[in-house]
């Protein structure tokens, strides 16, 4: 049996019935990592010894009939989620040797659920990017075509899931950073409602937009992972104290009568490839046949989302990243004679070009004389984008759209042109600005054999609606079963 190929729910059954052990499963995943890591470059740290210890403990728990939701399940964690005693680099030179003294709340929850961490995975530095090319550590390749990007910023997570180098992963999504790489790598990725999952221990990029979520091999796995990490946390003052439904139980596969909103702006956009339009169009046909009702909705301000986002997110980032000053943690340029020089030299040598670009942009947008014209203006547009969604959800239950304008692009193709790279986020940014949940589920392949993702967005705290709609699609199609040849 090729254990590394298992889904979480399949592995759960085998573990519980003692058909396999977590030590066997974890060993198989680690062997797989060692076999394909040289060609995929998904991992920053492989925590082999820790994983084998945790796997042995999981097997002991199973023998004692103490089976928890993720007992013995190997997981890869995006390297901006704090893991106590395990390096958390944010794929940045400035945090290259940072070892968190505490666990993020999601890690406390994963550990309590019995999961086995196999390591920390690659990303764009501080989650700033759409291709994982901005990593200060390595460039992750798309397992479907290694000359192409896996998407980003959670590109290591998506590639690791697609290449069976873990059973599931946690990423973070500030403007599409879970959904876009999930689409490019042919896996399921969920950005929960803002406030659904605690951000405590998530290294902050843009605090009003960031949200942790799962990347998984299928919708059932995504629901299982979301269940474990969701919930109010007093340590995150922006997490919301609202009941967490049983996400897996909501997966009925029945979409009869479901009202699916089709925003005209997302289906007539220029620059969307035929491959994407065709695959998303097929998904619409599927839902119609399954008894859902497609309704036209309008999101008139969505065309301003990229501009608003690329003011708000850099503004918040410039403030959040002020903490990397060479004093409390992280790298320091020790050659500087004065405190000011130490700050400047440390930050200039520690941050990569894209991070510096966004810090400059955000600092500019917040600086005296420009605040009203840029940051405040963008925040007002954000209100209009929120209102668009509120109106749309009066007429529909979920919104259907592409995730990306094109399938995965070539490594190096957009790296010198930041604005073009930013425009590739056009379909995903609005959900972050509004705070609503969204997911990507595989919906087809391009002529070149590259995966295409379908985006479903839901109303606040209604992850069950999008998960079930995605589940229905998955049940009726085979796309999620296809895996890259590696």
């Amino acid at each position: 049996m090729t254990l590394h190929k298992l889904t979480i729910h399949a592995a759960q059954d085998l573990l519980k019935n003692k058909k396999i052990s977590s030590v066997e499963l974890t060993r198989a995943v680690l062997d797989r990592i060692h076999a394909v890591e040289p060609s995929v470059d998904a991992y920053i740290s492989i925590t082999e010894d820790l994983a084998m210890d945790r796997a042995a403990a999981a097997d002991q728990a199973i023998r004692e009939n103490n089976v928890r939701p993720l007992t013995g399940i190997p997981m890869a964690i995006k390297d901006l989620i704090a893991t106590k005693g395990v390096k958390t680099t944010c794929a940045s030179k400035i945090l290259e040797n940072f070892i968190p003294p505490y666990d993020a709340t999601v890690m406390v929850k994963l550990n309590a659920a019995g999961s086995v961490m196999t390591g920390k995975v690659n990303m764009d530095e501080f989650a700033m990017g759409s291709s994982t090319e901005n990593s200060g550590i390595k460039i992750t390749k798309n397992p479907w075509d290694r000359s192409r990007v896996p998407g980003g910023s959670s590109g290591g997570s998506a590639a690791a899931v697609a290449a069976d180098m873990c059973l599931g992963s946690l990423g973070s999504d500030t403007g599409g950073s879970i959904r876009q790489p999930a689409a490019h790598c042919g896996v399921v990725g969920v950005k929960p409602t803002y406030g659904r999952v605690s951000r405590f221990g998530l290294v902050a990029f843009a605090s009003s937009l960031d949200q942790i979520g799962p990347l998984a091999k299928d919708v059932t796995d995504a629901a299982i992972l979301l269940q474990v990490i969701a919930g109010y946390d007093p340590k995150d003052s922006t997490s919301i104290d609202t009941p967490v439904p049983d996400f897996r139980a909501a997966l009925t596969g029945n979409v009869k009568g479901l009202k699916i909103g089709i925003p005209e702006q997302y289906h007539t956009s220029d620059g969307v490839s035929q491959d994407v339009l065709a695959a998303v169009g097929n998904a619409m046909d599927f839902y119609k046949k399954a008894g859902a009702e497609l309704v036209d909705v309008s999101l008139p301000h969505s065309r301003y989302a990229v501009a608003a986002y690329y003011l708000i997110a850099p503004a918040e980032a410039s403030s959040n990243l002020a903490r990397y000053d060479g004093v409390k943690y992280g790298a320091r340029d020790a050659s500087a004679a004065s405190l000011m020089d130490m700050y400047k030299e440390t930050r200039s040598s520690g941050f990569g070009a894209e991070v510096q670009r966004r810090i400059l942009l955000g600092t500019y947008a917040l600086s005296a004389g420009y605040y009203d014209a840029y940051y405040k203006k963008a925040s007002q547009i954000r209100t209009l984008i929120k209102q668009d969604f509120a109106r749309a959800f009066e007429a529909c239950d979920v919104i259907l759209a592409p995730v990306t304008p094109t399938p995965a692009f070539k490594i190096g193709e957009n790296i010198d042109d930041p604005l073009t790279m930013y425009l590739s986020d056009i379909f995903t940014l609005s959900a972050n600005l509004a705070g609503i949940p969204g997911l990507s589920v595989p919906c087809g392949f391009s002529a070149d054999g590259l995966p295409v993702g379908l985006q479903l967005m839901g109303n606040y705290f209604d992850e069950t609606a999008i998960l079930n709609a995605a589940y229905a699609f998955e049940q009726g199609t085979e796309f999620h079963k296809k895996r890259p040849d590696l």
């Binding site: 501009a307 004093v327 941050f351 400059l360």
Partner: protein, 95 residues
């Protein structure tokens, strides 16, 4: 919208960054292009629109003013580039 070299250097100082002389023009061009693009926002009259700073409305989150477990000083200092006697060490501040 074009940014001048001086503007880039001014913002860099505010952001505590040193921009290498060879990269100032590239940064000025790239930031200028982005700022030009965001000018599309001016097409919308927002005079009557309240800004949104948080995705989900929530008022202040208070907790009881009670002592709880916190990081030990040693753990808090463990990642410091330089620490001594329980303090972070920085280059001389006063000339």
């Amino acid at each position: 919208m074009k940014l001048t070299k001086e503007e880039v250097l001014h913002v860099a100082t505010l952001a505590r960054l040193n921009i290498d002389a060879s990269r100032i023009d590239t940064f000025a061009d790239q930031l200028g292009n982005i700022l030009e693009y965001v000018e599309t926002l001016d097409q919308i009259d927002t005079r009557e629109v309240a800004p949104t700073f948080h995705a989900v409305d929530k008022s202040n989150a208070f907790r009881d003013d009670a002592a709880a477990a916190h990081l030990e000083r040693e753990a808090a200092l463990a990642n410091a580039p330089e620490a001594e006697d329980g303090y972070f060490i920085v280059p001389k501040v006063i000339e």
